[in-house]
């Protein structure tokens, strides 16, 4: 069998392993991912909507909705690939055992990306369905695009997590990564407020893959498609995904193969 096909089969084995462990504690694992955006919608959406008025013809809850899908993807991918991966690597020695089998570092990383992409796609769909049911998606059909965009957005977000796992010297240092990397891109990527009239901020967020994912989700949810913007955001998101994933592969390989 072709070397890459074997690698794909083995990467899928990593996905199966993660699923087997994840499903053992399914409710505890899934709850925060769904509860966080729900609470955010209640607190910010319902709470602030009456005071804020319309943004681009949308209520504030409708404005927030696609951002909540993106948030679910960001947190699912980042936490799974940072804390989750680090625990598997350092405390559970899962990869030491895996590496004694035909699985190599490449398959481990591919498997982790596949796993977070699938999880993020499913989570994005779940959150999207709830938002569609409560009428917060002006374009309810966008739910069908959410798994695709969510799955793609999970790759750069997961890669940031893997890079963090490869650089930190102990588990507490993830807090620093969260505070200085994840929190800024989360708060200033257009999830909570439009960036159009803030040119400096709008320029800065171009280097955040999360911003491009948010933009694609917003276009889909608000039915405001424009081919140029789709190509731009999609192109940059894919470029970030590929670049960060390759960087993460190199770093994780160094951690696993000494």
């Amino acid at each position: 069998m072709n070397d890459y096909l074997v690698s794909l089969r083995l990467a899928w084995c990593v996905v199966v392993r993660n699923w087997e462990v994840y499903r053992k504690d399914f409710l505890a694992n899934i709850s925060p991912t769904l509860a966080d955006p729900a609470l955010m919608m209640v607190a910010l959406g319902m709470g602030l909507s009456p005071f804020i008025g319309n943004i681009r013809g949308l209520s504030y809850s409708q404005y927030l909705a696609p951002g909540m899908v993106a948030t679910t993807v960001l947190f699912t991918a980042f936490f799974e690939c940072s804390y989750g991966f680090y625990v598997r690597m350092t405390f559970q020695s899962v990869f030491k055992a895996m590496l004694t089998t035909p699985i190599g570092a490449r398959e481990v990383v591919w498997g982790e990306f596949a796993w977070v992409s699938i999880r993020a796609a499913l989570m994005a769909t779940g959150v999207g369905l709830v938002l569609a049911v409560v009428g917060l998606l002006p374009n309810p059909w966008s739910v069908f695009l959410f798994p695709l965009i969510g799955g793609m957005l999970a790759v750069p977000c997961g890669a940031i997590g893997l890079l963090a796992a490869s650089y930190v010297r102990n588990i507490n240092q993830f807090q620093t990564v969260y505070s200085f990397v994840i929190a800024p891109i989360y708060f200033i990527s257009g999830v909570f407020f439009p960036l159009g009239d803030r040119p400096i901020l709008a320029s800065v967020v171009q280097i955040s893959p999360f911003f491009h994912g948010v933009s694609l989700l917003q276009m889909a949810a608000w039915n405001q498609f424009s081919p140029e913007r789709i190509f731009y955001h999609l192109g940059v998101l894919i470029a970030f995904g590929v670049g960060l994933a390759l960087w993460a592969l190199v770093r994780i390989r160094k951690k696993l193969i000494t």
């Binding site: 087997e20 462990v21 559970q92 030491k96 055992a97 895996m98 004694t100 699985i103 193969i257």
Partner: protein, 310 residues
């Protein structure tokens, strides 16, 4: 053309001048050794001697810095996957998924190894390791000995040609240790090749056809346990109470070797008659008299540096 059993292409392990450096630290320094088909070879040495580093090099988990290394004629740096399809490894850590059951764990690894008829193979091995009654138990409910036996099951799933055991019995009670020794012996007697690292000299003496003693990343002695004992520490050892040291020492011949071990004072002489005579001349009765063993060899060769190599 028929390939000889131990031609360079089929020798399970063939290392020539293997080195591994971690920054300035030299973990392996020109290590050369061979493991032939059907042999059970023990790698001995203090903590930090390079045993686990060498084992990692064999299947690509550690990248060697220099030298030539072949496993079944394949280079682990480029052909790790092909090598790993032919070996089974019991690593130092069990690394089992605690949330999963025994069957779930083994099924996952059978999938990794692409084992045909995995259920039959797993059941067979669980029975072999007396774990079949635990097939549906979560890993977290197993004792340390059971977990260790399960890592043997995991390593044997693909029926490997070479079984690598990295300190397989460390921390286990004697009963489990004896059970695992029997399994390793039966595996070895079935013509399979075994490479093990251990801190238990008795274990190495019992299981290994050949032992290789490492210190500071280099081979300091190699041979069968009997050959090494004969060469390095021939004879018998009389063990006395440490507080009788002066009385015993006064009657010791200059060509005998004396050394202290914890609360014991030991004298090694070529003949057991010498020790019997020592008892009568010194008036001190030995606690024990025994033939020299591999531990004496080990302590002689690495004893000065019993503090871990760091």
């Amino acid at each position: 053309m028929i390939t000889p059993l131990n031609s360079p292409d089929t020798i399970p392990v063939d290392a020539i001048g293997v080195t591994k450096c971690f920054g300035d630290f030299v973990a392996l320094e020109g290590l050369s050794l061979e493991v032939h088909s059907g042999q059970c070879v023990g790698l001995l040495g203090p903590n930090g001697a390079g045993k686990s580093t060498f084992i990692g090099c064999l299947y690509g988990a550690v990248e060697r810095t220099g030298g030539r290394l072949r496993v079944f004629g394949l280079d682990p740096a480029r052909q790790a996957r092909s090598i790993k399809q032919r070996i089974g490894v019991v690593p130092q850590e069990n690394a089992l998924d605690e949330e999963l059951t025994v069957l779930e764990n083994m099924s996952l690894y059978a999938r990794f190894e692409n084992v045909r008829d995995p259920v039959r193979r797993i059941e067979e091995l669980l029975a072999h390791m007396s774990l079949d009654h635990k097939r549906n138990a979560p890993i977290r409910s197993l004792s340390g000995g059971m977990k260790r036996r399960l890592t043997f099951v995991r390593a044997l799933l693909s029926d490997p040609e070479l079984l690598i055991l990295d300190e397989p019995t460390t921390g286990l009670d004697p009963t489990v240790r004896h059970l695992l020794w029997e399994k390793v012996l039966s595996y070895s007697q079935a013509g399979k090749t075994v490479l093990l690292t251990t801190h238990y000299m008795h274990e190495a003496e019992l299981l290994c056809d050949k032992v290789i003693i490492l210190n500071r990343g280099a081979v300091v002695a190699m041979g069968s346990p009997k050959e090494l004992i004969e060469k390095e520490t021939p004879g018998f050892v009389g063990i006395f109470e440490a507080n009788e040291r002066d009385r015993v020492q006064a009657h010791v011949n200059s060509d005998w070797q004396c050394f202290s071990q914890a609360r014991q004072y030991c004298v090694r002489a070529r003949q057991i008659e010498h020790l019997i005579r020592l008892q009568s001349t010194s008036g001190v009765t030995a606690i024990q008299m025994r033939p020299a063993n591999l531990e004496d060899v080990y302590l002689k060769l690495t004893g000065e540096e019993l503090a871990e190599n760091e």
